[in-house]
């Protein structure tokens, strides 16, 4: 039997314990991506309706290219300049949702922490960030 056929046999053989692992292992992975504390999925945020203030924590150029409609730009770099603008638009009855580029970026988490340190309640981070917003067909303002 040649190497490829032998390999195919092994590939199939490994499927059996893998399926059992996926079905019964006490530490099997979640099939949907787990989210970190303080993050919310886009579907959940959209279910909040109009009671959301969006905060864009990405660099200025990316914000200028496109952003969530009505999102307020707020970064640690330009905090002193931008935070007063945020306060002008902030409404205590609304939830604040911060986003950056994607799942891997940290900017939204850092801005969310800073907002909480400044006494802003109900601050959340959008899981997946701008990439998720775009991928799920969210409106875009340029």
């Amino acid at each position: 039997m040649n190497a490829v056929r032998q390999a195919a046999l092994i590939l199939v053989a490994a499927l059996i314990p893998a399926l059992l692992t996926g079905a019964f292992h006490h530490d099997r992975p979640n099939w949907s991506e787990p989210i970190a504390p303080g993050e919310e999925r886009l579907e959940t945020i959209l279910s909040w309706g109009q009671s959301v203030i969006w905060v864009d924590a990405r660099p200025e150029k990316e914000y200028a290219d496109a952003h969530v409609p009505d999102a307020i730009r707020l970064t640690l770099e330009d905090w002193d300049t931008l935070f007063p603008h945020f306060l002008d638009r902030w409404d205590q009855k609304k939830k604040v949702v911060v986003y950056c580029s994607s799942t891997s970026c940290q900017l939204s988490r850092e801005v969310a922490e800073r907002l909480e340190q400044n006494g802003i309640p109900s601050v959340y981070v959008l899981h997946g960030g701008w990439e998720t917003w775009k991928a799920q067909g969210g409106g875009v303002k340029r």
Binding site: A3, V4, Q6, A7, R28, P29, E33
Partner: protein, 141 residues
């Protein structure tokens, strides 16, 4: 070293390489099969595939490593096992190189949480060495 001595040395070297390579994959596979949820998170840290693909890989790859390693060790379906382990080594080495190029400060995750974190550079060098070992085994065929 003259030719007859080389000929008698090579089978011993190949046997040693086969045992070591097979052993590494069986141990690595077993460590990850014990904690597939943890392995799924390790895969996600490479930021190369969507979560679901990583989760499916985390349940399948450890068993593939173990079975291919065991087959190589016992000498049944040896060439197929060697083919799989070579492809896996190539894939893992590419993932490590990609993580280094992108500056991800992650751990290899090659042995689950069995050993201390070693970053990506040392495992990358180890994989290059193991690929060279696999090349020696291929030279037999």
């Amino acid at each position: 070293m003259n030719a007859p001595q080389t000929r008698s040395f090579m089978p011993t070297l190949r046997l040693a390489i086969r045992v070591v390579l097979a052993g590494i994959f069986v141990i690595a596979g077993a460590a990850k099969a014990y904690d597939p949820a943890g392995f799924a998170i390790e895969i996600q840290r490479y930021q190369l595939v969507p979560w679901l693909i990583g989760a499916l890989g985390a349940t399948y790859l450890p068993w593939l490593e173990m079975i291919a390693g065991a087959m190589l060790f016992v000498g049944r379906l040896k060439r197929g096992a060697l083919l799989i382990l070579t492809v896996l080594l190539g894939l893992f080495t590419w993932a490590l190189a990609s993580a280094m190029v992108r500056g991800l400060g992650i751990d290899c995750g090659c042995f689950g949480k069995t050993f201390e974190a070693t970053g990506t550079f040392v495992p990358f060098l180890r994989n290059i060495f193991l690929l060279a070992c696999a090349a020696v085994l291929w030279s037999e065929h």
